[in-house]
Amino acid sequence: MKFRIRRLRLKNWKNFTEVDIPIEDRVFLVGPNASGKSNFLDVLRFLRDLVSPGGGFEHAVNLRGGISVIRSLAARRDPAVEIDISLAADRDEWQYLIAFSSEKNRKAPVIEKEYVRRNQEILLDRPDEHDKNDPLRLTQTALEQINVNRPFRELADFFGSIRYLHLVPQLIREPNRFALAYDDPYGSDFLYQIAKTPERTRARRFALILSALRAVIPQLKEIELRRDERGNPHLDGKFEHWRPNGAWQNETCLSDGTIRLIGLLWIAMEKGGPLLLEEPEASLHPAIVRVLPQTFARILRQSGRQVFVSTHSPDLLQDEGISPREVLLLNPSKEGTRVTPTNQDNLIRAVLEGGLSLADIVISASGPDHPEQLHLFQSS
């Protein structure tokens, strides 16, 4: 069964006091620094953490520094944090809702409401009788428990298939300098993920990546995974060279841009749930950024994944195949960040109808109000 997120409603989640928006298959998040693009993606990571091995509700909350960090600073009257997500799967319509707050005395996170619905059928509605008899049950979601989640396990599996990627090339180059984390999105474990892939799949993906990269990094002739004497995987690239057989270089010699491109293409080829990409334009040449939306559109049609991209790049938004519905504008205010699909913003709609492109307006509309203050900064 293939789930698609169709609507997201948030209350008091980090910078978002109140959000209620439709979600397309491809989503671009734009907004000034610190407007909450990463926090928006973090909602989906939170759902993933609920069901991932070694995860669970309490872990997911603590990983983020506790309820007081998760709860919107702008929240005043209504202290519960709420995530309400609607999904489509084949012909079914699903809903998962979780609301939680902190227990008054213990400060531990407790579930106030958990609700699962498929079409008209309510599969879960907590708190129920059992919860009333044993309040400790409200420190765990039904979603994370395999003995309870049977009627909606597909949904739990779907949340578990959400993948976040924010490759930090330094972590790939020097994995030994950093503690390895399971499924680490920043990439220290990226090479282990590649190494875990069956050899034939890996070879096929490398061949595809190489053929894609041939046009943009023509010097790169081969990519290979090699294990050193301690068994640690390394990414090797063979570059064209004046020596007749080329020269092999390990990943310390691949540039930031090359590593990030390989990572993006690799992850886009994986089958799975929604893909969350943090500023994929980083360290890439604008000419390459310019074709990223096209690249994703084609790869994702094949892998069938939904993709969420946070970006500051006008080159990326220059693509004429991007629909205003796919672009979510994040505007910080004292009452928390507002999220508006650009097709619902009257000014943007008018300007688009006037013939300007999304890139012309969205980046300006999502910029800080007073950038000039930065260069007026005085260090003494």
Binding site: R290, V291, R301, S323, P324
Partner: protein
């Protein structure tokens, strides 16, 4: 060369490859307004360096010579400024056999005089709707919403694929006189280049 976007870039590269010159520096790819703003600067450098500049006429009521006179009244000898009638997609539709082959549709469906089409880009999207290939339809056709863009999510990528692998320029120039003139102009410039800078 200087172009409006990535589709035009692919077309311009094929044009230059056909006449046998390399594209060199590629400027623009930020839309038509940007290109027109840079035109004065490009023309200055065309005193000594050859430039191919492709601009779409789009819905402008003026004809190409009038537009050239307006945008660049004193073109330097090395400037090859071409205004494509309506849009560069017209030149692609002009290779009816190639486009029919790529989309998997009948040649009879392809408009015969593409430079008379008022929205050749929309026409390519319409032709893609007829394609029996689901991937092509998914990539090229926009979602059915009133505020959708004119083209599908991977439209440019598909058109570029066509330009690079299917587009027969000689065949296309038979049905697109503007394309034929552009090729002639480029060949003249190339010969002049060989003569002046052997």
């Amino acid at each position: 060369m200087a172009v409006e976007g990535i589709v035009d870039e692919a077309v311009a590269k094929r044009l230059l490859a056909t006449v046998g010159v390399s594209p060199g520096l590629i400027i623009g790819k930020r839309g038509k307004d940007y290109l027109l703003k840079k035109l004065h600067g490009l023309n200055s450098s065309a005193r000594s360096f050859p430039w191919l500049v492709l601009v779409d006429q789009d819905r402008d009521p003026d004809c190409p010579p009038a537009l050239i006179a307006k945008w660049c009244p004193n073109p330097n000898p090395w400037l090859c400024l071409r205004v494509v009638v309506r849009a560069v997609e017209a030149w692609l539709i002009a290779d009816a056999d190639g486009l029919a082959d790529y989309l998997g549709i009948s040649t009879a469906r392809i408009p015969f005089q593409p430079e008379l089409l008022s929205h050749p880009k929309t026409d390519i999207v319409h032709l893609a709707r007829l394609s029996p290939k689901k991937e092509i339809r998914t990539d090229m056709i926009p979602a059915p919403h009133p505020d959708s863009p004119k083209v599908g999510p991977a439209y440019s990528s598909r058109v570029i694929e066509f330009v690079l692998n299917y587009w027969d320029i000689d065949n296309a120039s038979k049905r697109a006189p503007g394309l034929a003139r552009t090729l002639r102009k480029l060949r003249v410039l190339k010969n002049k280049l060989a003569h002046d800078h052997p």
